[in-house]
């Protein structure tokens, strides 16, 4: 796959894809307009047909996701396979992080597909030679008992002989780093690399090579390039919006398409810029605290909210955040940030001054 990154990147040096400076100014202006309730959403190209309909069926099939997994699993193998097999190494604990918008079961699936032992419950088993902690969720409970559990884990990780790969999201890693210094045990912290606009374009082309995607704003074909420059900034903006997370990019892309229903242009799909939702008005403070807690915990049971937030949340806030697409309930009944919203939530929290870590 052309333009795809060839290796994992170092955690503090994660190269977030950037959009153009002019687009950043435009985005800041649009956000301000939205905050001032001046945004009426009338900014469409005259080229856009009037008979567009929203697409409800997914435009990406399993093939795109399988190829993406294959690529990422390959990067993980390249980085860690030798280390896992090495007989004698001073590096007993390593970490591999992903953005919070990556699938929560990504590392679990990789470990299972490679036959590595996993520690789903966060409890170390000293009999294992190598184990993967596929998620930092069990170690990220913002309560004194959660801290106690984390410290026990650190103690055991220091004394056990098990070679350990810790996997999780960047914000969880930052939280752990600040509260207990688990990072002191870790030799190397790598990250799933970002996909830039060109790499995302080749990801889209896996299933839609001959298809034409056009921007509602400019009317230009978004995957067309001339002298290496995109005809439209859509892909550049998309990569910057999701910080290069391919899974989030695919999801945002799915949410942005409207297909032409007229027969003449049946192979044209129009894309609008994704309209990131706003927090419920008058409850933004409570909403931010709740989203911050969920982001740190990974999955947070609704009945545990009171234990980790000393705030009386207004009735209906959870439902409102679910309705607006910020939160969802996973199979185990835990609240989670909707994956593709994670970068947006991160941005909202950072602007409000919340501690959200380095990436």
């Amino acid at each position: 796959m052309e333009h795809f990154p060839k290796s994992l990147v170092s955690f503090p040096d994660y190269p977030k894809p950037q959009t153009r400076a002019t687009n950043r100014v435009r985005d800041a202006f649009l956000r301000l307009r939205r905050n001032l309730h001046l945004d009426n959403g009338e900014d469409e190209s005259d080229l856009v047909p009037d008979d567009l309909q929203s697409v409800t069926s997914p435009i990406f099939g399993q093939e795109t996701f399988d190829r993406l997994d294959e690529h990422v699993f390959g990067l993980l193998d390249d980085s860690f396979a030798d280390w896992v097999e090495e007989e004698d190494t001073p590096h007993r604990v390593c970490a591999c992080l992903s953005l919070p918008s990556a699938p929560s079961d990504l590392f679990q699936r990789w470990a299972e597909s490679r036959g590595h032992a996993t520690l789903e419950d966060g409890k170390l088993d000293g009999r294992l030679r190598f184990a993967v902690l596929p998620s930092l969720d069990p170690l990220c409970e913002r309560s004194p008992s959660g801290l106690e559990r984390l410290r026990r884990f650190c103690e055991k990780a220091e004394t056990d002989k098990t070679r350990l790969l810790l996997c999780g999201s960047t914000i969880q890693w930052s939280f752990i780093h600040w509260i207990c210094g688990l990072d002191l045990l870790v030799s190397d912290v790598r990250m799933i690399p970002p996909l830039d606009a060109a790499a995302l374009a080749s990801l889209l082309a896996i299933e839609h090579d001959a298809h034409c995607f056009k921007s509602v704003k400019s009317g230009a074909a978004i995957l067309n390039t001339e002298d290496g420059e995109f005809a439209d900034d859509y892909m550049i903006d998309l990569a910057a919006d999701v910080w290069g997370c391919p899974w989030a990019a695919l999801e945002v892309f799915e949410h942005s398409v409207t297909r032409n229903v007229s027969a003449e242009e049946a192979d044209v799909t129009w894309l609008d810029r994704y309209d990131w939702p706003a927090l419920p008005m008058n409850h933004t403070r409570d909403a931010r605290f709740l989203l911050h807690a969920v982001l740190i915990h990974g999955g947070l049971a609704p009945q545990d909210i009171a234990n980790v937030l000393p705030l009386t949340l207004p009735y209906g806030l959870l439902r409102a955040l679910k309705r607006r697409g910020f939160l969802c309930m996973d199979d185990t009944g835990h609240l989670r940030i909707v994956p593709h919203m994670a970068s947006h939530v991160h941005r909202v929290l950072r602007e409000a001054g919340f501690p959200v870590g380095e990436v």
């Binding site: 301000l32 801290l147 509260i179 602007e351 409000a352 001054g353 501690p355």
Partner: protein, 269 residues
């Protein structure tokens, strides 16, 4: 003597009704513009990222000075025939007037200018002046307004910066040190108390992760006073943060079998 009279006559040469009307219109327009800035900028500040909030709030007193100077530059030539001699005369007259009639006002106004330059307090800062502690909500021409934790607005003349210490808790930053205090029974070993309270701070949702958490203990006649010091990431959450630290800290201490000294016991003693 005649020269002096001529000077004064020439000074007021343009002092006609039309000019006065123009001057009044300019003054009213600039006052309205300042009122607009005073309303709009704090609202805008609330919509911007936190790191820009205090910067935008501080544009209000600066805007006042700029607008006031601009208004004066437009009004003075309308009313007075400005020459070097006249300027000296005007300044002399103003000096005498301020010196006698408006001494206190002038002192405060000048201190206000110094305050804008030296920044002992800025809009959005939490300051203590004398016994008053609160958030600076407005820096006016003569006085600064503080909103206290009890929601009282205290007006304090700028001239107090000449004679008093101004304690600024955050000094333009968006955080400040918060302290939760506990008075505990001294008849117990102090092992673990510090870690217990640090964990309370570490698990607070208001905590700024990047700032230090410090526990200070001090022996007093009635017990050991324990101070838990930490920083919230948002200055406006300081009281919620202190309440959270106090409530959970007290529960944690009691849960660990540490006796909190109660006031009735002290009164009984």
């Amino acid at each position: 003597m005649e020269d002096r009279a001529d000077q004064i006559r020439s000074l007021f040469e343009d002092f006609g009704t039309w000019n006065i009307l123009q001057a009044v219109t300019i003054a009213v327009l600039f006052i309205l513009l300042y009122k607009l800035v005073k309303i709009a900028l704090p609202r805008l500040a609330e919509l911007l990222p936190t790191n820009l909030r205090i910067m935008v709030l501080n544009a209000v007193p600066l805007a006042r000075i700029v607008l006031m100077l601009a208004a004066l530059l437009l009004i003075i030539p309308l009313l007075f025939d400005v020459t070097v001699e006249n300027l000296v005369l005007i300044l002399g007259t103003i000096g005498v007037a301020l010196g006698f009639a408006l001494k206190d006002f002038a002192t405060s106004a000048f201190a206000g200018l110094v305050a804008v330059y030296e920044k002992p307090y800025r809009s959005g800062d939490w300051v203590r002046i004398g016994d008053d502690y609160g958030e600076v909500i407005e820096i006016g021409l003569r006085a600064v307004e503080l909103r206290t934790a009890d929601d009282d607005v205290v007006t304090i003349p700028h001239s107090r910066i000449w004679s008093e210490n101004i304690i600024n808790s955050n000094n333009g930053e968006n955080t400040l040190m918060c302290v939760a205090e506990f008075l505990i029974d001294p008849g117990r070993r102090a092992d673990g108390i510090s870690d217990l309270l640090k964990d309370v701070a570490l698990t607070s949702p208001f905590l700024d992760w990047e700032r230090p958490i410090v526990v200070v203990m001090r022996n007093e006649s009635c017990g050991t006073r324990v101070l838990l010091r930490a920083y919230p990431f948002e200055i406006r959450d300081q009281f919620a943060f202190i309440s959270d630290l106090t409530a959970r800290g007290r529960d944690a201490l009691v849960g660990a079998g540490i006796r909190i000294v109660r006031m009735p016991e002290l009164a009984g003693e």
